[in-house]
Symmetry: none
Subunit: 539 residues, 2 copies
């Protein structure tokens, strides 16, 4: 059993995938989920002059992570310049990140044809960049780009590059199969050679694979088999072209099938939820056939298989799905059984007896059947909990709402929403305007509710995602809306499902506002605000 | 270089996947595509009493295949009965199929706990079933279920099962990793042992893998590396749970990376088209990130990568995409330059001079700055191309539109959209209803446009995705809407961005409809439809 260091690059290499886009605040949420999963290092991005990246590193610097170290990504210094004069390396040094990962060249073809850098100068670029970062107190991971192409084309030069990095003080040299060109046998041979060559330098060897040949996971395992102890990859295999090596498959393979130590059993049991959370945040449909975490991964259709599983699960299941937080039956709620539900209730400070837990599970199943999904809608889920626990206060009683959006003849787009609601026996009719239907509905509701719930003035919508679900064959397609709101202290998600996108938005909006004012949250937020205000008033 | 026999089980094991369903006529079309691809054996199904399977075998018996042999699937005889009295084996014998594949047990746990068959009787079941089929003139492939579990649990018994099959006359014994439990190293060890043990019997060893650990492709390659010469799998990895080993990845790996002989170069160049054809027939969205054949498999986005590919393709491409019938995709983004744009114009059959290319790039940059993103909106991008090339015909001139959505006091949600547009100097005012704002606007537009553009009747929206872009903090957040539409032949994406979700949807909708009727597309679609209708009218 070897301890394997997990290095996640979802926030950097993963974002090179088609259509991948996250705000700085969303990336922060991803970092916390990865930390909770037990990932050892999180590559957050280039802390460059890009304002979005600067904002992210600023946000990250103010957070505490339980397990993970944040790594800032950059590259070796420019040719013919001093490392300390390189502005990009200077940004790395100035970043709060304790780990700096820099990428450099290993492959003669690449040096000659693309970057046009002399081989000896390349070695100096590697050496001086790493030495500079080390002198400034950083831990250094060195990513050797095109390492396997380089090793095959000119083994001696590739080894010199890696040894230079090790001797300059990199704690890890990472062999990158940048183009995803290689197969497991080739990976194993090259890694074993490098591990042997670097013996005695104290450096650890890492692996970074892509899935262009459909063997990114197997390549990562082959590298570990040959002596690599640091594995880079992305959640769900996000990344350019066919994606990076998928940590969601690699980790259970390493831990459950090969007996290596990566993360705790509890962390491993959160793998399915973490994988789905990332997909939801990115507005991607989770791959139902994904190994370990897919909805179908432990589903059985063939008659013989179902009979076999009933007689003895090991006959048609390669492992216990609970180990990765997945489950055998398709229609069982994503949230699991009674134990999970009661744990969630406890977190929210709600007492839920056995009967209420069973009712809640039934209710969740029914809602999931209609397209609801609570993994990224913690606010809506807590409201469900409260309803079953008898600890729920509706904000109002609805009579009707109406939204009008028009592009007028002068080209201007106008939106107004009118609501008719009852609060404490009184009827309110209010019209709100907004830059869209949700905003207008939100304004109309707040026009009534802000007086009695001043806390709402500190809350606002921060995200809005819509997807069509055509998974429920035979019936009409439905629209799923996910809203995120925040009071500056906390972010919560809510969900609405309807065949009409505006109606789905309305349901999510009402949940979002109701969550904000439940049970003491207003008082807590006021107290936190007072404390925060004190802090930020200090010089 | 070894010649590898490819055995496709898309029509049998692949159909065990969730939501997989094909008519007998569709299966026949699949068989012909597989034959054209050069697959050596096609497992068509159980020729049982099921009328759909009977119809399929009847259809197949009347067809001529260029390369492929049809295999009928069944299992060893029942216990304590004579093979010639087994009705299921009789059906196999009576089938026209020259190859019969039968599955049998290898694993002691399975024999004891599930099928409750004595070990010696199991050996007789294998021996007598194969001997019976051979005596009736069939070629026999023997699938050893749970072979790797069996080999690990009781190697001697597993080897006896396989040797019995070989000596009874099976031409191939297939080691099945039925549960997908194993990793490449384990597969290689067991296959090498079996190959050595069966040396001299003349039997060939095959491999059948599943993707439960995300290594189905690598396992198949490991088996070939250890001496297997017959590889089973499915197109696009269809199949139960996480799917079967994906032949679409295995074949180019075997042929292009490992130098084995599977199919001709021309056949390999049809791989991408064949893979997409299967997805279309099954009404599944092709996986854009699929190795070798995915739309993104040779896509480049990162600035360094695009520069590298331009300097020398081998620096960031592991092979020439044309070898598998795919092509390089330069993602339209701020990072791409004039070359990308002109290449895209050429594909669309549009001539774009240098000045127009530069204008287009400026326009794309400006739109991207406002939140547009053309990677998944090829339809909108082509319209931009046409606009700059002066080859664009607007569908109408807008005066105004208005959408009303209301939840009435009786709880019912109603949506209506009114448009005021000008076409050929005439003013039209139309109101459409729908189950949501986009649907209602679409209906209103079609009420005017369908008369002059009958092709629109064959097109429809197939997907709708919305997300908020809050990357540009400080200004208002904007909403990005992506629509996919299809005319049954082609799917195209369009995009709209606005702070108002309905306005963004409107822009995307108009692009979607305009794309459908540009430049000969209506005529092409009509011709394709007529050709399709002609074919299906033939007896």
């Amino acid at each position: 059993m070897t301890t394997i260091q997990l290095y996640d690059t979802t926030l950097r290499d993963g974002m090179q995938g088609e259509g991948m886009s996250l705000s700085a605040a969303e990336k922060l949420r991803v970092a916390h989920r990865l930390d909770a999963l037990g990932v050892h290092m999180i590559e957050a991005g280039f802390p460059s002059s890009n304002p979005k990246e600067l904002e992210l590193f600023d946000l990250l610097s103010r957070e505490r992570f339980e397990h993970a170290l944040i790594a800032a990504f950059g590259m070796t210094r420019r040719r013919d310049a001093r490392a300390e004069d390189d502005p990009a390396l200077r940004v790395l040094v100035d970043s709060f990140a304790p780990v700096c990962t820099i990428v450099g060249k290993t492959w003669s073809l690449h040096l000659e044809k693309v970057v046009k850098v002399d081989r000896d100068e390349n070695l100096r670029m590697i050496e001086e960049s790493i030495a500079f970062l080390r002198a400034e107190g950083k831990r250094v991971v060195y990513d050797a780009e095109h390492c396997f192409d380089g090793w095959h084309a000119d083994r001696d030069y590739a080894l010199r590059c890696l040894r230079t990095a090790a001797e300059a003080g990199a704690e890890t040299v990472v062999m990158c199969d940048t183009n995803g060109a290689h197969l497991p046998g080739q990976i194993a041979t090259a890694v074993a050679d490098v591990v042997a060559h670097l013996e005695g330098t104290g450096v650890q060897v890492g692996i970074h694979c892509h899935d262009d040949a459909g063997v990114g996971v197997a390549n990562s395992l082959a590298a570990v088999g040959a002596g690599a102890t640091h594995v880079q990859g992305t959640m769900n295999g996000y990344g350019e072209r066919c994606g990076n090596a998928n940590l969601v498959s690699i980790v259970p393979n390493l831990q459950l099938k090969l007996g290596h130590a990566c993360i705790s059993d509890e962390q491993l049991a959160s793998l399915t939820a973490t994988s789905h959370y990332l997909d939801e945040l990115l507005n991607r449909t989770p791959n139902a056939d994904a190994p370990y975490v897919g909805k179908n991964a432990f589903a059985h259709k063939g008659g013989m298989h179902v009979a076999g599983v009933m007689a003895d699960a090991t006959t048609f299941e390669h492992m216990d799905p609970a180990l990765v937080g997945n489950r055998r039956e398709l229609l069982i709620s994503e949230l699991g059984g009674k134990g999970t539900v009661q744990a969630r209730a406890e977190e929210a400070g709600i007492t839920l007896d056995d009967a209420a837990s069973r009712r809640l599970i039934e209710r969740v199943k029914e809602l999931e059947h209609r397209g609801y999904q609570f993994e990224a809608a913690d606010g809506s889920f807590e409201l469900l909990l409260r309803k079953e626990a008898g600890d729920y206060e509706p904000l109002f009683t609805l009579e009707s709402w109406r939204v009008i959006v028009e592009q007028r003849a002068d080209g201007k787009v106008e939106t107004e929403a009118t609501i008719k609601i009852w609060v404490d026996g009184e009827r309110y009719v209010r019209t709100g305007e907004g830059n869209g239907p949700v905003h207008a509905l939100d304004n109309a509701l707040r026009a009534v509710l802000s007086d009695t719930h001043p806390h709402l003035d500190d809350t606002g919508l921060v995200n809005f995602k819509v997807r069509i679900l055509d998974e429920t064959k035979g019936t009409e397609a439905v629209t799923r809306v996910l809203l995120d709101a925040s009071d500056g202290q906390e972010v919560w998600g809510s969900i609405g499902v309807s065949e009409n996108v505006i109606a789905a938005s309305w349901y999510a909006l009402v949940d979002s506002l109701e969550y904000a004012v439940q049970d003491g949250r207003e008082e807590q937020a006021a107290a936190a605000r007072a404390a925060g205000a004190g802090k930020s008033a200090a010089p």
